[in-house]
Amino acid sequence: MAMTTPTTAEVAPRRRFDGSRDLWRRLPVTAKIGAAMLLFWIVTVLTVSLWPLDDPLAMVGRRLQPPSPEHWLGTDALGRDVFSRTMHGAIWSIPIAVVVVACAVIIGSTLGALAGFFGGWSDSIIMRLVDVTVSFPPILLAMAVAAVLGPGLGNASIAMVIVWWPIYARLMRAQVLEKRENEHVEAAVAGGAGRLRVLGVHILPLCWAPTLVNATMDFGQVVLLAASLSFIGLGATPPSPEWGSMISEGATRFYSWWIAFGPGMAILSVVLATSFLGDGLRDVFDRRSA
C-alpha cells in the first residue's frame, strides 16, 4: 500500500509589505534588467573619471580608426576615442535627465495638486496654461525655447522642464480630483483638519504612484530629447562629449559608422532601461492602468 503524503500543507503567513526588498521581489524580470542597466549608468556617472580611459577631449590616435583592441569603438574625425567619449557622455546626459525630471515633477505636481484641490479660478488658470503648453509639439517647443535662450545644456534643461511639467500637472490633478472624493478626506475634515493638512497628509500620499511610473519612463525620454537638442546644435556645445552632439558628428561621416554607434547604443540602453523599469513599477504600484 502506497504511503500518501500528509495533506497538512504549511501555509506561510502573508507577510506585510516590508519595503524595498518586497518591491524588488515583485518586479518582473524585464524591470530588473532595466534597473540593472540604469544602475550601470549611474555608477558610470559617479566613477567614470577613475576609469583607465583615454582623455575624451584629447586626440589620442589617428583619425577615423575603426574599432580595434586599442580603441574599442574606434576614433572620431579628430582622433578622439569614441568609447571613452561615450562613457564620459553619461556625465552630461544622466544628471541632466535627473534634474529635468525632478524639476518637472515638482513644478507639475505642485501646480496640478493645487489646481485639482482648490478648483475654480486656480484650476482654470493652471490647466489652460497646461493646454497651451501641450498644444505645441514637444520638440518644437523645446527647440524654440532653447533657441531663444541660446545654446548650452543649462538652457536646454530649462527648455525641457517647460515642455515636461504639464504632463505631471495633469497626472496629479486627475489623481487629486479622484482621491479628494474619498470618504476619509471628508472624515479628516469632520475631524477638524485644515485644507492644507487634508491635501498634504490625506490626499497627496495616495497620489504619487502614476507620477512615479511616469517619471521613470520619462527619464529615458528626457535623455533622448536632450540628445536631440544637442544633435541640432541647441544643447551641448562641440568639444563636450555629449551623446547627441557625438551622433551629429557621426551623422556626417556615414562610412565611419562607429562614431555614432557608441552614443546611439548608450541612448538606446537608457531609454530601454527606464521603459522596462517603468512598466515593472506600474505593474506593482498601479495595477489598474496597466
Binding site: 470618504e183 472624515a187 469632520a190 477638524g192 495616495l206
Partner: protein
Amino acid sequence: MTAPLLDIRDLRISFRGRDGTWAEALCGIDLSLEPGKVLGIVGESGSGKSIAMMAFLQLLPRGTRVEGSARFRGEELIGMAPARIRRIRGKAIGCIFQDPLSAFNPVKTLGAQIVEAITLHDRAISNRAALKEAERLFELVAIPQPARRVRQYPHEFSGGMRQRAMIAMALANRPDLLIADEPTTALDVTVQAQILELLADLRRELGIGMVLITHDLGVVAGIADEIAVMYGGSVVERGATDPIFYQTSHPYTAGLIGAVPTLDSRGTLQQIEGTPPSIFSRPPGCSFHPRCPRAGAPCRIETPRLLPQGDTACACHFPLSRLEPVT
C-alpha cells in the same frame, strides 16, 4: 429643563440643479437634543437626514444654500467662520461614518490617525502621550491588544474592529456630541449589535449626547431617547421612543414599523408602495401623499405642519388616532 446641546430651528438646505433652479433638500426642520441624550433620525435614502447634520458642520459642497439656525451649546454654527468651525469639528463634535474602511486614510496606521486627531486640537501634547491616549481609547472601545493594534493599518482590521477604531477616533477629544451617520449599515447583524451596545455603554459612561442617523428603526429602538422620522426633507413625526413605536400617529412611521420583520410575523411583510420623490420633483402638499393609504384632498394642496398629536408631534392631515390599532 436644561439648555439643549444642539438646537436646530427651521434649517433649510437647497441645491442648485443642472438648469439653475434651486431645489429644497431640507424644508425647514426643527430638532433639539439635550446633553447626554440620544436622538435617532430615521428615514429613507434622500430624506435629508444626513445632510442636515453635514450642514451645520459645514461639510456640504460649496454652492449649497443653507438657511436657518443650528445652535450648539448656544453658539450659532450656520455661517460660522471656517477657522472657528474647524475647532469644533472633531473636538466638541465627533463624527462616525458609515463605511469604516473608506473613512480611514489607507496609508497611515490607525494610531497615527488618532494621534493626528488629538494633536490637531491640542498642540501641547507630545506624540508619545497622544499615542498612549490612542491606546487607552482602543481599550475603551474594547479592541483587544491595543498596544499592537495602534501600529496597524486600516486594512489589517476587520469591519467591526474598524468601526470600533472609528468610534475611538471620534471620542479622541472627549466630544460633547457624537454624530453617527449610519454607523452599523456596513456591518453584519451580530457586529451591528455589538457596536450599538458599545455606543450605549459609552453614552452611559461618558455622558455624550448622540445623534444616530439610520434607515433602520430597529437600530434606534434600543438606544434612542427620542426619535425623529424624516420623509422628503421634513420631519414628519417626532417624539420619545416609546410613543413613536406604540402610539404612532403618522402613516409613514406606521408603514416603517409595519415593514420591520419580526420573528412572530406571518405572511408577507408590509411595504410602503412606490419610491421617495426626487428633490427636483416634490409633489405639492404633503410630500408623502402619493404613497399614503390615508391621503385625501387636503394632502394634495396643503403641506401639513408638525403639530402635537398625542404623545408625539406629527405632520399629517389625517393622523392615526391613538385608539386605532396600528396596522
